[in-house]
Structures are given as structure tokens and as C-alpha cells.
Amino acid sequence: MSKRESDEVTGVETTGHEWDGIRELDNPLPRWWLWVFYASIAVAAVYWVLMPSWPGLTGYSKGILGQSDREAVVGELQALTAVRGAQAARLRTASLEEIERDPELQAYAQAVGQSVFGDNCATCHGTGGIGAKGYANLRDDVWLWGGELADIHRTIQVGVRSGGADARFSQMPAFGRDQMLTPAQVDDLTEFVVALSHRPADVAAVRRAAPVYVAQCVACHGVKGLGDQKQGAPNLTDQEWLYGSGRQAIHDQIWNGQGGVMPAWKDRFDPETLKALAVYIHANAGGR
């Protein structure tokens, strides 16, 4: 061992390391720091005994306090359910109309609905519920499958083209793609639909398309183009368009006959949540 050097100013031994003339003093650790360090070791030892800490082959040491975050969460959820119990029970027994009319239940349904909507529905319909191209706007007064509380409740439960036996189902044929109509007929029909929604259109084309509309479209969209909510056929005379209002968008829809899919939610939520969601959507669309 080499001879220890002492710093001439302080008299403290140095570590013998030197960088560019700067030498490190070999001071002991501060006493308070040392005690904190020892205390930490002691706390760790106590922690091993009290709390889950050691991994084993098939499990882990549970600790004598039996602490478990998983069980704590389960407990908290049960407590939450208990707190909500009274409101949830009332939601279960009350009719949709009763929920909407009772300020207290309405507020509860609004809160539950908003949370569930944000987690599940907002992906397609948007957080504000105004939808997007191909996804229905749930805030206005235009409904494909009916805007009454019961209609909305049912649509949420069974979905649209969701594959279930009781699902809402409608099929707009792909008139162009499947060559049911000629391209010229599709062009004429586009003009006809534009005219239906009270916009200026090519009169000759509208006249040519009239018999085609009667033959192909009336069954679902009706003689006046007002649609039919029982079949999920949209109203062609209003200003709301699921796939766009322009001529190109209307042409594309006649040609391709698109239809979106909405999942059935009845197996994913309990009945009171489904009710709350229906009331939430109905209320935010302006209600009755």
C-alpha cells in the first residue's frame, strides 16, 4: 500500500487520485447520511416481512400484512358498486321515459352515459357524437333506425349489420358495381336524388331517371324519397347525408351501396348501462 498523502490546506488524507491538479479528499461519509442508509436497510428488512416481496417458483411471499393491490381494486370496485347501488337499482326498474323525466335519474344516466359513450362509442361517432362520413351523427334530429328512446335503446342492443339474428339490417344494392343499372342510369339517378333534396338538377336527366327510381328505389326510400326508419332507409329529401351530399358522393353511394357496421352491445353492458346510454344519446340529440 502506498503512502497516504495529506492535503496541506485541510490536513485531510487524499484518495491519491488526481485530475489536472485537483485531488479528492478522503472525507468520511456524513454521519446523517450513513444513518439514513442504515435506517433504509432496516426498513427494507421490515418490508420483506410485512409486504409481498420474494418471488418463488409458483408464487411469491405474501407478507404477514397480506397486502394485495389486486384485492384492493376488487374491494374498491365493490364499494363503488355499493355506493351506486341505489341509483343503479332505480335505473334498472324505471322505464326509459321515467329516467329522462326525473332530474336526479337523468343526471345519473347522463354521467354514466357520457363515460360509457366516451369509452365505447366515441371511436366511430366522435366524442361529441356528431359522427363522421359513414358514421351517423347522433346529435341531430335525423335517425336511420328511429330516434325515439325505445328505438335508440334497441339499436344499441342489437347493432346494425352486426351479424346477430336480431340485428338491424338493411342493404343498399351496389347498382353500378353489380351492373344492375347502366352507368348512364346511375348518372341520371344521381340527378334525381339531387332534385329530391330540393336542389337544382338537370331536368332531362331527372325525367329519364323517374321510372328507374320507381322500379329500384321506391321499395325502401318511398315514393317521395322520405325513407323508412323501419328498414333503415335514409330520407333523401333532407340536408343530412351519411356519405356526403355532393353529386360525386351520391353517385358513389348508388354505384357501391355502402353500409356500415355497428356492433351489438347487449352482451357487453348490464341493462342499466344500456338504458343510461340510450337516455344519454336521446337527451343530447334534443330529446323528444
Binding site: L25, N27, A107, Q110, D140, Q239, N284, G286, R288
Partner: protein, 498 residues
């Protein structure tokens, strides 16, 4: 000041505990955190100011301890405590007044009033607040009184402290601290009654079922009362309180404050009975003003930061003046300007009306007026409007546009109110709530007593009313007694035209 610990030389600590630099600065540098406290043994005095101090002590402590127990009947399940800060119910009750958290500006106004009143009283009469009504002063006074009951007055106390421990000294000290702790606990205990129903809390507190905050604050105030009034005393005023520093800006040479009239007192010196008074001042240098002072200062050194203006030295001096047969008032509430004038042979002029006092007075009147006006126009009905921001507007099938709002209808009265909600804005507006069967120009709802009713409202404007992107509008709520209005905007979805 700080203790210098030279961490570079712990091994050499035995021989050289401090650095050479610290040594050079002298021993004062290493004595401690601040100057060691010189114990003060204030002597009991009798007189006009002492009497006023007793009266104010009794009055302020009575108000403090009794107030939570005053009952005030309120309807329903509302608390029947006259003065109550109800954090759980989010209300502040003061006799007939009930304030909501949103009205905290009334409390702010009260604080502004208190500050202005403090400024004004300070500019006129010096630190009256410090000397007579500050809790630190009042409780310290009470603790000193208890101290005297157990240990006697100044001289007895000094002897007792200097004496070795004995049974006599022990029981007096223990008794004093026991009573101090009792008072301190009573102080903390009374404080928490302002935040909970007093008769309930006094039962639940003892059986361990009081609220946790109650125990915490009771313990905290017990501790601070015991330490501040028992041990720290004048140090709180000198080292902790900002007011002695601020008061320098509030006082001027025309402020009345406890003053030693050096024009009359100097030159001072001991006086033999029957000796001639000519050619000397009235001060007999008996130091009674110093022994009476709870702050441990000599008022004859002039106005100073430590002086709390309590006037006990006036009583002490007057007693001596009567005894030596000189007029009282050698120490008195006087102004620097007056003393200086008399010293120079000019007549003393007292100016209570100065720009400073006039300004404080006017400001005090203005804030009081504003508060009184605000309180007189305060209604029990209030309205706040939150616009829906997602979506900001919805276009309906016929081109009409609908905006959604959440109205917060505040009913501060103790009765359910039938409220008519109206919308004032572009012509043709129709409003409805989700639950209403149809829309109309107004709607009627019930606002429950003492609550905020949140109401979803949809406003629909026909296409021809959509003249601009932003249409100013307002909601109005009316009851038979009151009306409240809130401005908002209707967003039409029409593009901005350049």
C-alpha cells in the same frame, strides 16, 4: 447567522472545530441561530391602560369562546349554528347571512376592510391592534397573568428562576404549565367548533368519533398557543410578524403613539424627596417603564420596532409621577411632532386630518360602501351558462341550427323555487330541455332549495335567423321574487364573410 461547520476537516475536529476565517470573525459568529433570548419579567401595573387591556382581553376571549355556541334557527337539515364555516356543506353561515363558495369575494372584501381599518388606526393612533387586540398579545397577556398567579410578580419570579430546584419551585412551574396547556387546549378546542356543529362535536370529540381535521387542528392550535404565548411571546412580534416592518410605512410624525416626552423628562436623573425640580427633567430614572414593558424595551429610547403600543409603561410612569408629585403623562399617547415642537418652545399642533388619514378613511368608506351595495343587490337566484363545445352546433334536417347549453340555476333561498327560463336572442328561437315534450319560447322548471340545478337546454334557430357566425344571446331566469341573467353566444355555423 449560521454556525459554520467545516466539513473538510472532520478528523481534525477536536483540535480545530471552526475554520480560521470563522475564528477571525469572532465568537459572535458561532453563537447560534439568532440572539439568545433575554428573559423578560414584566411587572404588573395598575392604571387606565391596564384596565382597558383587561376589558379587551375579557371581551375578545369571550367572543372567541362563546360565538360557536350561539344558535340560529335555519330550516330543514341546515345547521343551527349562528357562525359556522361548513366545509363539508360548502357554506359559510353568519347569523342571517349564508354565503356560497362562489361569494368568497365578500370575505375578501372583509379582509380588505380589516387591512384598511388597521392602516387607518395605525396612522391615527399607532399600533393599537398590536397592543390591545392581536391574539398574540391577548393570549400572552393571559399566560403572563397565569404565570403571576403561580410564581408571583417580577421580583418573585426572578428569584424563583434563580433559585435551585425545590418542591416549591417544582409545583409552581408544573402548575403554571398545566394551566397554560389547559388554556392552549381550550383555544384549539374552541377553534374547531367554528367548523363543525359545536354541541355535536363536543360529544364526538371525546369518544374519538370527531373528524380527523378537528383533532389535527385542535392539536396544532394547542401547540402554537402553548409555545407562542408561553415561550416565544415578544419574539413572535419581533422576529415572525411582518406588521412591525410594515407599520413603519403607516406611521408618521403626527401619529399618536406611546411616547416618552423627552421635552419634559430630560435631563433625567434620580431625585431625592423634597429636592428642587428646577433645571432638571421630570424623569427620575426609576426604570418602572422598563420593568413594566412586556416587550423588554426602554420607551425612553424613542419609537422602536419592538413597541406594541400597549401603554403599560404609561400606567407605570403615572404611578411614579403621582408619588413624586409631578404631573402625570410623562409617557403618554403623543406625537413625535408635538414633542419636538414643545422641545423647541413652539406650541404643539395635533393633526388627525392628514392626507394619509383622509385617504385611508375615504378608501375605507369606499370599500364599505361597495360591500354594502354588493350585499344589498345580492339575490338568492343566480345563473351561469356553459355552452356545449363538442359539438359547438348541430345542423338539423331542415337546415335549422341547434346549440346545446348547460344552465346552472343557483337557488340560494331555503325554499324550492319555480323558475321560468327564457332565451333572449335572434327572433324565432325555440328552447327545450331533453325531457320536455315540445319546444317553446320559455320553459318552467323547479330549482330545489339551497342547491344548484344543472339543466340541459337546447336552442334551435330557423335557417333565416342565421345571419352571422356569432349571435349574441342571453338566458334569463325568473322567479316570483328575483331575476338573473347570463350572457352567452349562439354559434350558427355560418361561415365568416369577409
Amino acid at each position: 447567522m449560521t454556525v459554520v461547520i467545516d466539513r473538510s476537516a472532520p478528523t481534525a475536529a477536536k483540535t480545530s472545530p471552526v475554520s480560521a476565517a470563522a475564528k477571525a470573525r469572532g465568537p459572535a459568529y458561532v453563537t447560534g441561530l439568532y440572539k439568545p433570548r433575554q428573559p423578560i419579567y414584566p411587572k404588573l401595573v395598575h392604571g387606565r391602560w391596564r384596565a382597558i387591556k383587561w376589558a379587551l382581553l375579557i371581551a375578545t376571549l369571550t367572543i372567541y369562546y362563546v360565538t360557536p355556541w350561539i344558535r340560529w334557527e335555519r330550516p330543514g337539515t341546515l345547521p343551527d349554528q349562528a357562525v359556522l364555516v361548513d366545509f363539508e356543506g360548502r357554506r359559510f353561515y353568519f347569523f342571517w347571512i349564508q354565503l356560497w363558495p362562489q361569494e368568497v369575494y365578500f370575505l375578501t372584501g372583509l379582509l380588505v376592510l380589516a387591512a384598511l381599518a388597521l392602516f387607518l388606526s395605525n396612522a391615527l393612533f399607532g399600533r393599537l391592534w398590536c397592543g390591545y387586540s392581536c391574539p398574540q398579545t391577548v393570549w400572552t397577556d393571559l399566560f403572563i397573568h397565569v404565570e403571576r398567579l403561580f410564581e408571583g410578580d417580577r421580583n418573585a419570579r426572578m428569584r424563583l428562576d434563580a433559585a435551585p430546584w425545590s418542591l416549591n419551585k417544582a409545583w409552581r412551574k408544573i402548575g403554571k404549565h398545566a394551566v397554560w396547556l389547559g388554556i392552549a387546549f381550550g383555544t384549539g378546542g374552541a377553534w374547531i367548533f367554528y367548523f363543525h356543529d359545536a354541541p355535536t362535536l363536543i360529544r364526538t370529540f371525546w369518544i374519538g368519533q370527531g373528524p380527523l381535521t378537528g383533532y389535527i387542528f385542535c392539536a396544532l392550535l394547542t401547540f402554537t398557543t402553548y409555545v407562542f404565548a408561553g415561550f416565544m411571546r415578544e419574539q413572535v412580534c419581533i422576529y415572525m410578524c411582518p406588521w412591525p416592518r410594515i407599520q413603519g410605512a403607516m406611521l408618521d410624525e403626527h401619529s399618536l403613539q406611546v411616547t416618552y416626552r423627552y421635552d419634559r423628562g430630560e435631563p433625567r436623573g434620580p431625585h431625592k424627596k423634597g429636592a428642587d425640580w428646577t433645571g432638571r427633567g421630570d424623569c427620575v430614572d426609576c426604570a418602572q417603564c422598563v420593568t413594566a414593558c412586556p416587550m423588554g424595551i426602554d420607551i425612553r429610547n424613542g419609537p422602536q420596532l419592538e413597541c406594541i403600543n400597549c401603554g403599560l409603561c404609561i400606567d407605570a410612569c403615572d404611578e411614579i409621577m403621582v408619588r413624586v408629585g409631578r404631573p402625570t403623562g410623562l409617557i403618554a399617547f403623543d406625537t413625535d411632532a408635538a414633542v419636538e415642537a414643545r422641545n423647541e418652545g413652539r406650541p404643539a399642533i395635533y393633526k388627525l386630518l392628514r392626507p394619509r388619514t383622509v385617504f385611508y378613511g375615504v378608501a375605507l368608506a369606499a370599500v364599505s360602501g361597495a360591500m354594502a351595495w354588493g350585499f344589498s343587490v345580492r339575490t338568492t337566484l343566480d345563473l351561469h351558462v356553459l355552452r356545449d363545445r363538442n359539438p359547438v352546433f348541430v345542423r338539423l334536417h331542415d337546415g335549422a341550427v341547434r346549440n346545446g347549453y348547460t344552465l346552472k340555476i343557483v337557488n340560494r333561498s331555503f325554499e324550492d323555487e319555480t323558475v321560468i327560463v327564457g332565451f333572449e336572442g335572434p327572433a324565432g328561437a325555440r328552447i327545450k330541455t331533453p325531457a320536455a315534450a315540445s319546444s317553446g319560447t320559455s320553459l318552467t322548471v323547479v330549482a330545489p332549495a339551497n342547491e344548484v340545478r344543472a339543466l340541459r337546454v337546447f336552442v334551435t334557430l330557423p335557417p333565416q335567423a342565421l345571419s352571422a357566425p356569432n349571435l349574441p344571446a342571453s338566458f334569463v331566469v325568473r322567479t316570483s321574487k328575483a331575476e338573473a341573467r347570463a350572457q352567452t353566444t349562439f354559434l350558427s355555423g355560418v361561415a365568416n364573410t369577409p
